[in-house]
Amino acid sequence: MINWTPDQRTARERPPKPSKVLIIGSGPIVIGQAAEFDYAGTQACKAMREEGITSVLVNSNPATIMTDEDVADVVYIEPIAVDVIERIIARERPDGLLPTLGGQTGLNMAVALHEAGILDKYHVRLLGTPLEAIRKAEDRELFRQMLDDIGEPTPPSTIVETMDEAAAAVEEIGLPAVIRPAYTLGGTGGGIAHTREEYERIVASGLAASPITQVLVEKSLLGWKEVEYEVMRDGAGNVITVCNMENFDAMGVHTGDSIVVAPSQTLSDKEYQMLRTASLKIISALGIEGGCNVQLALAPNPQTTPWDAAPAGTLPPYYVIEVNPRVSRSSALASKATGYPIARVAAKIAIGRTLDEIPNAVTQKTSAAFEPALDYVVVKIPRWPFDKFPFGDRALGTQMKATGEVMAIDRTFEGALQKAVRSLEIGGRSLLWEDPAWKDSHGERPLHATDERLWTLMATIRRGGNLLALSRKTGVDMWFLEKLENIVAMERRLLAEDLAPDLLRRAKRMGFSDKQVATLSDRLPEQVRALRDEWDIRPVYKMVDTCAAEFEAATPYFYSTYEEENEALPTPGQKALVIGSGPIRIGQGIEFDYCSVHAARALDAAGYTSIMANSNPETVSTDFDTSDRLYFEPLDEEGVRDILENEAGDDAAPADAPPSIVQFGGQTAINMAGALHNAAMPIIGSSSETIDLAEDRRRFEAFLSGLGIPQPPGAAVLRVEDAIHTAEALGYPVLVRPSYVLGGRAMEIVQNPSELARFVQHAAEASDGKPILIDKYLEGKEVEVDAICDGERVLIPGIMEHIERAGVHSGDSMAVYPGIHLTEQEVADIVEYTVRIGLAMDVRGLMNVQYVIMPSDDAARAGASDVYVLEVNPRGSRTVPFLSKVTGVPMVQVAVNIMLGISLRDQGYEAGLWPRQDLVAVKAPGFSMSKLIGVDTYLGPEMKSTGEVMGIDTTFPAALVKALMSADLALKPGGGVLLSIADRHKTQMLPVIRHLHEAGFRLYATEGTAEMLKALGLPVEQVTKRLHEGHPNVVDVINDGSVTCVINTPEGRFTGTLRDGFYIRRAATEKRVPCFTSVDTARAAVDALIATLQGAAAAYNVRPLPQYRAGSAG
């Protein structure tokens, strides 16, 4: 008799479930670490709550949902630094730490805490993926060894720690070679070298960027297919793939900068499964417990990128490129692309659950142990900041440059791609856009990877470019190029044929917007829309359900497509649409997602059905359980009106559509006001009339004059002569800007007539006959106010004072709550003006007002000051989360309630200034400059920061110290400072320089500044700023480490000193040395250093956020 029994069931030892878990966030938004970690952290907190575990959250970024007091159980907005977190651990005594949900920042901090022995000291267990696995995944040598052990292929490579080793390595591997620094974010400091010179330069910068001075030099796989798998593993060893993704851009472009499609399109099942199996093998060998991202390179078509083709019947070669042993940007994308909540499941795995024990929140019938089946195509396109930085290097490589991304879903690739392009919100640009320069260059269009390559490919195909040749040149697979050609073919039909129902339906299926169809068929967009109505060509909405309709699902998560069955029938009852803020970009960051999420919550709380529309996969707002219903759609007029018509139901009048809320989604949403108004669709909150009043410069000036509220004097001019006369009358410096752009774009401060003439000429060329605005530049104290108005009363939660004087964009300024240097009279004026403006403009909901305060010119009021209004925005601003958190006023909720007809009084709020809290909070900007080659880092009227942090404490010095720590701007005592100061700032800077000298800094200075210091008897080493005139020059002293801080205040945009200073600032940025371009920031940083030396730092508090407000002792 044969006895055969299967393996005996092995009872897995379950780790004990923790009772209190610390979650570390990712700090300010920077390139490579954006809103996706707010989404991940928020999901983790929800998961802990479901499991009955107390969550303690620490993050320095106040503009996050995860730092809401109803998301985590205990919230700390404190610097993410070892000593600070040790104090939190000592105070809270968590028994677990979740290290893999706060991006690279959170992970590095967990490792640092472990290495400092702090976790052992306080008996804190690292949950989820063990540290050993993290090390194996992140240390390139260990990772390669592990892959060798399990027989997974890696590209030939060598680890290098010195320039000599690098020289030897390149002999073996050859060029082109890829250089990847160890332990850096978004590939900082890496690149692809084609020449020996490039190789040496990139290795040097990579070694500098790596905290362990280590880079990997690797065989270049340029042109190979790049494929990613998002995989999960639980403690019992169960493994699944959530999603695979294929990059439109072949290997060589950072995946964060690649156009990505999910699922893969050009892989046969055999290839798909080969790479899937490799990914699962890798996470099993690593011992991941949670989520993980695996990047692979697959041999492409040998006709376009040659390699030794595999023999018949065998599979093509592939290489494992990289693993992220944590939740990442890609996992956020995969979550939104599939509906599978990776971070939430990862958090539950970390506390000991197995995949089959975790319910699938989407179907509510099945478990998390399955692989989502997609029945649609997802396209992600990165959002790059080159509209803000036209002089930045646009070439894409291994260093990520995008600040954010958009995602679109459709049932055709063409549709998803075109909707994603619409979602980018680059001046309404569709795939039809072409740079006029391409026409003049005799058919030569740049085809190397840049932010514009999608458009250059389109332009080339439009002119009959050969697809195979294009594929060879770019590495983009023929499949994608054929799809682009399909789009071009449809463009031709729309140009040539009469618009008939069948043609229009086909165009809509391919994602052509009404606007594109209108352009091509010589109509107005509104006429195309009318034809669609007449011919009954309307989008239907289909559900993202994780299972391709196999099971009934409860997710209210929809995308539009042009097919037959509509699954999103209008929701019954009272409802409103919250228009989100689209991709994260400079000037429109996560703050607006915070506002949108709160708006949805406020609607829910008021008994309304909340409907969210957004296009950004990184965010909390596009989590399917943030609102009652989510539409993942482009936020343009067509997308929003289609949603509203769908929610209104068949044959409803536009006025019967649910009302829209446009004041929380930044400029994206507010820009929709006019279109909705014209379409006779209702808006709740401030009317489009109010919005127009604030945005139309002329109307606004007349309005303020009518109220008798001062504003900086100015005028609109058309010609250079008029400009010079006007400026003369106003007195220099003047603030100039074209009237056709909003916000800080293209705004400059000019100091003299020749600068002015150059600016006006330049602007006039681009402005198409529209006037240039010239205002007196008041270099005074800048103050910012957020207020809530119900039409009868105005509530001012708080006043923020900027550290930098007017001239630095408010988003790049450090700001202090409360206005600690303001006089009572100034506060009274600000409150009075704010109230009068709010009432007179008939604001309903939020508004933001920016003021500048100058010493009074009036001799009769000597010593007093005058308050001028700079700008009014009748919408939620960047500072709403900051102010909500420090004052405790739930500003968005109060504003939404007003929109629903509940007055401030009925909500229990008094009018006027909210009681000043007994705390000080400092907001500081976070920058991503080291990743943007060629971008000048000096601060001016145009915004450059990507994120923000907050320091909060009971005193100003302590709050300031913490804000600077979190913003990576804190000065360390000792070391050297390089000074290059504009003439007009020299006097102001003197006290600051003396402080630095007294604090033990060695002083280095460029020619003019050094002369002044010598004259004053200060010891100074002069270094030349003329890079070709000997050594040591400014760049040398930065690169050799002599200098640990740079203070460089530029003269002005159009002068030579700006160009000289550019090299100083870039060198400092690339060496990661704090660089101050404003006297005021430098002064604050030096004050903080002095305070630290005097012991204020040790005296700073570490407390849960609400305790600062309560004013209780730590």
Binding site: S268, E371, E563, E564
Partner: protein, 367 residues
């Protein structure tokens, strides 16, 4: 392209564009949620007499190559997709999906709201349907109602080999001899056995237990195949004759046949399990595996004798996914460990079968 229709037996009509052969075809309309592997699915004999709907909208992206066939011809009666790729991109592609369908005389339908169709089948259950290009919907419906229903005839003899053969494309030493009872075998089962060092002899479906044992196999594999296991008395009898005489592995229909041999009955699922993402728990270890599935019937565990245990269960609906016998070397699975298309995670079961075969040989030598 010409217009064509899919007419369901309940009168629902889906309009689209004809692809493949200009022909009418009818069958049971089923959907698969597998996102890749249309070439394998088209040639999978288990889809005989079925109209296959793919839920992933873009089909034919990487064309049809010379390697990824699972049988010698297209087995589905008709293929329904949202979009057929006219310009596939893959260096191994030899023809387009449309060309392949056309060559094989199989009609297809593109441009269909396949999600609406899938939701219909999910809610109402699978039903008969016909693809047509030259009739009105009413004519097609009338014709459909006169046609035999799926499940009324035994489809296995149509897909099984007529002559016994040995799968051997490379002559080398073989450690084990496995007889595969061909109820509609997929080539990949033979490829896997080959890779594991087995000489696989494929026997026609009506081969008796005596004839199989006469080949002195080290093990017998009952293959997957189409249709209702209740119609397969002959195969059930063969299975009964083999149990206890040779190590046996049953896959899909083979599993159901062995289930019947153990005294269980099978029942029809509302809309089947077809795709590459179905979670199955190995009851012996508690581990969950993502599996490739393609079946419309399932074994009801109620009739199983006390010697037989359920070794695998579906995590979603709890249905039986595998059986093992306490005393005899018999293992069965309802899903496709050979994958193709689908995940390779269950290949370990073939290895388990090899262990079973080897142990049996050792024990036989001792006896």
């Amino acid at each position: 392209m010409a217009d064509a229709l899919l007419v369901l037996e309940d009168g629902t009509v889906f309009r689209g564009e004809a692809i493949g052969a200009a022909a009418r075809a009818h069958g049971e309309v089923v959907f698969s949620t597998s996102m890749t592997g249309y070439q394998e699915a088209l040639t999978d004999p288990s889809f005989a007499e079925q109209v296959l709907v793919m839920t992933y909208p873009l089909q034919g992206n990487y064309g049809i190559n010379d390697d990824d066939y699972e049988s010698r011809r297209i087995q589905v009666r008709a293929f329904v997709v949202r979009e057929e790729c006219e310009a596939p991109s893959h260096w191994r592609a030899r023809r387009t999906l449309h060309q392949y369908l056309e060559e094989q005389g199989v009609p297809g339908l593109a441009g269909v709201d396949t999600r609406a169709l899938t939701r219909k089948l999910r809610n109402a259950g699978v039903m008969m349907g016909t693809v047509t290009h030259d009739e009105t919907a009413a004519q097609a419906l009338a014709r459909l109602r006169d046609l035999p229903r799926y499940g009324s005839t035994d489809l296995v003899p149509w897909v099984s080999t007529r002559h016994q053969y040995t799968y051997d494309d490379r002559s080398r030493e073989r450690a084990r001899r496995i007889v595969v009872l061909d109820l509609g075998v997929k080539y990949n089962i033979l490829r896997v056995l080959d890779r594991l060092g087995c000489e696989a002899t494929v026997a026609p479906c009506h081969t008796s237990a005596e004839d199989i044992l006469g080949m002195r196999p080290d093990g017998v594999l009952l293959s997957p195949g189409p249709g209702d296991p209740a119609l397969l008395d002959y195969a059930v009898a063969t299975a009964r004759g083999l149990i206890g005489k040779a190590p046996i592995m049953g896959i899909c229909l083979g599993h159901q046949v062995i289930g019947e041999a153990f005294g269980a009955k099978s029942f029809k699922l509302k809309f089947g399990h077809r795709g590459a993402n179905h979670p199955v728990r190995d009851e012996a270890t508690g581990r969950v595996y993502i599996t490739a599935q393609n079946h419309g019937y399932a074994v009801d565990h109620a009739g199983l004798g006390s010697d037989v245990e359920v070794s695998h269960r579906n995590v979603n609906d709890g249905t039986v996914e595998g059986l093992w016998h306490r005393r005899e070397p018999v293992m069965t699975i309802q899903y496709h460990s050979e994958a193709s298309p689908g995940p390779l995670d269950s290949m370990y079961l073939f290895e388990r079968f090899m262990t079973m075969v080897d142990e049996a040989r050792v024990n036989a030598a001792r006896a």
